[in-house]
Amino acid sequence: MTNPKGRFGIHGGQYIPETLMNAVIELEEAYEKYKNDPEFNKELTALLNDYAGRPSRLYYAEKMTRDLGGAKIYLKREDLNHTGAHKINNVLGQALLAKKMGKTRLIAETGAGQHGVATATAAALMGMECVVFMGEEDTIRQALNVYRMKLLGATVVPVKTGTATLKDAVSEAMREWTSRIDDTHYCLGSVMGPHPFPTIVRDFQAVISHEIKMQMLEKEGRLPDAVIACVGGGSNAIGSFYHFIEDKNVRLIGCEAAGRGIDTFETAATIATGKLGIFHGMKSYFCQDSDGQIAPVYSISAGLDYPGVGPEHANLHDTGRAEYVPVTDEEAVEAFEYLAKTEGIIAAIESSHAVAHAIKLAPTLSPEKIIVITISGRGDKDCAAIARYRGENISE
């Protein structure tokens, strides 16, 4: 008698070593206990508002709207959160939960470093020990974030195995968790991994769509026609989509990192190029070869450089409720520069993938239509890499 839990259609599940099973069961029980607990929610809301700076702004990008000459564009400014990205929403929730569970140590994986910084921040705030696993390649691409984590008191472990990027950091964090469970919570950063993580992370990120809905009704008196967000594992996207899933007239568009193009091997566009598989605790779509070996994916964006996608996104794709489109490095870099020059906002290279698609979409829609783009993070961390991409060497 088995009971496969945490399914989104055929996706999800708990494909993890036996060593971790009691830990995820314990986590699920704790989450079920606290998620509707008024005291827990009061504490979390206070942290989100007073510490992280929520609610984040919904900003009408008037100049961009005029310039593109089509749909009205709003930006959901998750980049204005404390620590500079949406990652803090989930981390404050999980750290508080871990604390209630009596854990004293947080471990995390990170790609761009934003989740690592957020976890190190929450650990510092709550007096917990923190170890962050980061692909060695990414520690070079995102050196500034490595320094921030260290400044916040975290230990950063550069992961040298495999492609030395995000997927290897996840593998190493999972290995670490199997060796130390008693005092340690694995603060997973995206809507991926074994159940209950995809649900927990989604619930903590759903504040984004909750706010968009209220702010949109207040500003426009109606819902938007499309919500656009970038997708790696997919946490800011699911957060932006979640409260609109039942509103069938709102188009939900996820932008995957196509790297140098989906017709090349240097891509991380999972839904465009991957197939169904089982990896990192979940059944979902993964970039892989014919033998099921996970592909060494590539994107200019360390945060989207992941060969899989969260199970709920895989299901939204299967059911057709959300659309997923590939965006190349070049398009993302152009959008990064465009938003800076047009609106004075330097968005993360991850978020710039969503901006790039909006630049294509907006002119095809009439001015009565409304698009919301989630700016998941700020782009300071990317300036050196973008300069390099443009052939300019700057010292930080």
Partner: protein, 258 residues
């Protein structure tokens, strides 16, 4: 007929793990024959995976060497077919769920049965997800081996009751690899296993020295050794077979002395 029970018949079993294709498949064939000749009772053949999340650095390295050497799943089925011309001891695959899933579960498990593989160990397939492959394994008489960990409190009876072939008891927290000391209370785990099933159980993770193997065999029905063997193959490369043979003999003697 499934051969796994032969490994435990009137004796304590010594189980050897080898990563297929490290450094190449010819060496794997030689190492398997040498291990069998020197007393291994069961061989675990590792099908390499790009991201082996349950493995420590030693076996991760073996996976990487095998994959960079160009090993494909079909080549490993051919290897087993060739080995079965003279190797009679039970052999099982150890790999990750995606290797089986992407090949097509029915096709993979059917092929296991056809070439003479007696069981499959998938460290990322816990009890809750075993229905993914268990019904197909049953159909082809290939045992889906269950694992029990030091953190399995409250789950041991449930797992043991539905176990097939043998039960793999993970000695320690963490990933595969050699350890100087094993602290888990293995006696209590084995006691619960015995109360719930007649399926034999063997202990693995962290065993490298003869006295550790003897201890494992004293507590359970056998000892499983992976990283220590892989390390010898890493050291001697294509000339590893006689060295592995010698090592297997010393470990088997220790297990048999119990």
């Amino acid at each position: 007929m499934n051969r796994i029970k032969n490994a435990f018949e009137n004796k304590k079993a010594f189980i050897a793990f080898i990563t297929c294709g490290d450094p190449d498949l010819e060496t794997t064939a030689k190492v398997v024959r040498e291990a069998a000749k020197n007393g291994a009772d069961l061989i675990e053949l590792g099908i390499p995976f790009s991201d082996p999340t349950a493995e420590g650095p030693v076996i991760q390295g073996a996976n990487l060497r095998a994959l960079s050497g160009g090993v494909k799943t079909d080549m490993i089925f051919d290897l087993v077919k060739e080995l079965r011309t003279d190797v009679t001891i039970p052999m099982v695959f150890m790999t990750y769920a995606n290797v089986v899933f992407s090949y097509g579960a029915e096709k993979f498990i059917g092929k296991c049965s056809e070439v003479g593989i007696d069981g499959i160990i998938l460290p990322d397939l816990p009890f809750e997800e075993k229905d993914e492959f268990a019904p197909i394994c049953k159909k082809y008489d290939v045992s889906l081996i269950s694992l029990i960990a030091p953190t399995s409190a409250g789950r041991i009876a449930m797992i043991a009751k539905e176990a097939e072939g043998f039960i793999y008891i993970v000695s320690s927290l963490g990933v595969t690899g050699m350890r100087s000391e094993i602290k888990t209370d293995l006696d209590s785990i084995v006691k619960v296993v015995r109360e719930n099933t007649k399926v034999p159980c063997a202990i693995g993770f962290g065993i490298s020295r003869p006295e550790q193997a003897a201890n494992a065999a004293r507590v359970s029905d056998g000892a499983i050794v992976g990283s220590a063997i892989v390390k010898i193959i890493e050291q001697y490369g294509r000339d590893a077979a006689p060295h592995v043979g010698e090592y297997v003999k010393s470990m088997k003697d220790a297990v048999a002395s119990v």
